[in-house]
Amino acid sequence: MTFPMPNLTPALPEIFVLVMVSLILVIDLFLSAKNRFITYALTQITLLGAAWITVSTHGSAPQYTFSNMFVDDAMSDVLKLMSYIAVSVVLVYSRSYISLRGMFRGEFFALVLFAMLGMMVMISANHFLVLYMGLELLSLSLYAMVALQRDSAISTEAAMKYFVLGALASGLLLYGMSMLYGATGSLNINQVATVIQNTTGNHVVLTFGLVFIVAGLAFKLGVVPFHMWIPDVYQGAPTAVTLFIGSAPKIAAFAFVTRLLVDGLQGLVHDWQGMLVIMAFLSMAIGNITAIAQTNIKRMLAYSTISHMGFMLLGFLSGSLNGYSSSMFYVLVYVLMSLGGFGMVMLMSRKGFEAENLDDFKGLNQRSPWYAFMMLLLMFSMAGIPPTVGFYAKLSVLQAALQAGFIWLVVAAVLFSVIGAFYYLRIIKLMYFDSPVDETPIRPEGDMAMLMSTNGLAVLALGILPQPLMALCAYAIQRSLL
């Protein structure tokens, strides 16, 4: 049987990560508790190695392999690099947090790397089946991580909710994919796009399948009306896991939406545009308004996530290359801000004490002016106030939507943004103008302190000079969607 051996070079990062995670699993068996930092070090080395391989195998044109199921183009390389950085930062932030709570086990790092692998598979997928498998790999690892603090009833409950709702959403997604297969006769994204463009597919079936697919996507992104899991899961999971869920998987979700809706179903743009308009509007509305009433920081950040995802969808529904690259920029900026936000919560937590409530941020300026300043930058960025990078992200997304003609939607977005600024500014008010409830000094570990400062300053720096990142996003989108 002559079947050519698939070209493994584009898939080298995935292969490397898989080999390393298997090695880490085995090596961790033989490490004693005090040597466990070796697992942590190996995980960081894996991410570094994967980043190096991704950069060295980067080519100018998209490379397809594994029977056209795997695509290595500019967008996948950029997104993978950003995911490596995000996961690496998550690990640094979480290190002391999880070791104080008995979660510093080999399985934690293995699950993080497996989730990373799932994200990489999703980002490079060119086939519905592979897209789905990457999603499941990521989701299963996340379900387990949420429940990892097994003595906590809240975490277990959050994990159960996440699992059940996630399984339901995966079911809806699969149903939609099977409808698309029935209408177009292929599961390969390129072929589906061709069939739709030549209008040889049955339009009613296609739209029927599209509805289910968008429902599944909406769950993964966390937009209304499939947002119910986000507040509960974000609040119930250990903050380290919340940090992880809130950052890197969003990059993968962006890739997921792009591969499905933009690469594959571009021909149906008028159908999914309408759905995205409704979802974006409702997300911004509900996310911003409900966040005002929250007293738990993790829950508040969860609702703000919902609104941010609504904003990101604004870029998608413009249907132009400019819109997609501004969405990508928004996602990357959001990940940066989210890392900082949840990182600050972990920074202020100690053994036995979770800095979850708004009151814990009171008087932060008096306890530690530098970190209060970092939080100020992050909150300004989330609210979209210049000169932080959040402002430019919102601006580019709104511009794209405006160019597509959605004037009322843009006006509503700006309105909800102003309403939303309230709860961000409330935190700043608590930090600077209230006296502290808890007087213990804040002493984070060296690497976390450095990274947090870098995080906060990056938000400011990128706001002053947003062009490099925006150019990178534009390059990525243009080189991959021809």
């Binding site: 049987m1 594994f66 199921m69 089946l129 498998m133 097994r150 009613v204 029927f208």
Partner: protein, 216 residues
């Protein structure tokens, strides 16, 4: 109707009955057993479609392993059926409304003539006697679809790691036997032979007895 249609309707009826009983049976163990029956009849239907590998693997994996574990859990949990069904009648109106709406929308779409227009229902080709479903599937899985196959294996690995990470607890004070160590025992670990000089002095008189005892 010929024999094949008869057999199809027989299996299909049993399948539908079993599926309905899964949801409506009062006793959860009965429910699980009806599910086993529905898997079995589904496998029979697949054999009629010439997908014998899938049918047999369905029985082997689902009925043989997954349902056994289901039964384990259902039997070991003390499920109080009445408390489980408590909110049923009060929630029914709302649930029914949503369900009927969804079903109505789906029927309107599915029953419209446009839906089946472009030949989206074709009879699968029947193969001759030399056709082996197993071989064809194997051929595809290990060549064209090897990438999703490998990812599926990684997903299974994640399931194992997650299950152990979530449930393994080692009590530090339990003592247990290690069969491997028991089997690896050597004769020298258990038995030590000390050479003792034989008592060569013969006892001549009864008074000599204490003396000879001292030499051993």
């Amino acid at each position: 109707m010929n024999a094949q249609m008869l057999i199809f309707y027989l299996f299909a009826t049993i399948l539908l009955f079993a599926a309905v009983r899964v949801v409506t049976a009062r006793n959860p163990v009965h429910s699980a057993l009806y599910l086993v029956l529905s898997f079995f009849t589904a496998a029979a239907l697949w054999i009629m479609l010439q997908a014998e590998f899938l049918a047999i693997v369905l029985v082997l994996v689902y009925v043989g392993a997954v349902m056994v574990l289901f039964l384990f859990v259902v039997m070991m949990l003390d499920i109080n059926y009445d408390t489980l069904r408590e909110g049923f009648w009060s929630n029914l109106p709302f649930a029914l409304t949503v369900a009927i709406l969804m079903a109505a929308e789906m029927v309107v779409v599915l029953a419209g003539r446009d839906f089946w227009a472009n030949g989206s229902g074709s009879v699968p080709t029947l193969h001759g006697p030399g056709y082996s479903n197993t071989k064809e599937l194997g051929r595809l899985i290990y060549t064209e679809y090897v990438y999703p196959f490998e990812i599926a294996s990684v997903i299974l690995l994640v399931a194992i790691v997650a299950a152990i990470a979530l449930t393994l607890r080692r009590r530090k004070d339990t003592k247990f036997q290690d069969p491997a160590a028991q089997i690896a025992v050597r004769r020298n670990d258990r038995l030590r032979i000390i050479p003792v000089a034989a008592d060569t002095k013969l006892m001549k008189k009864p008074e000599d007895a204490p003396q000879s005892e001292q030499t051993s």
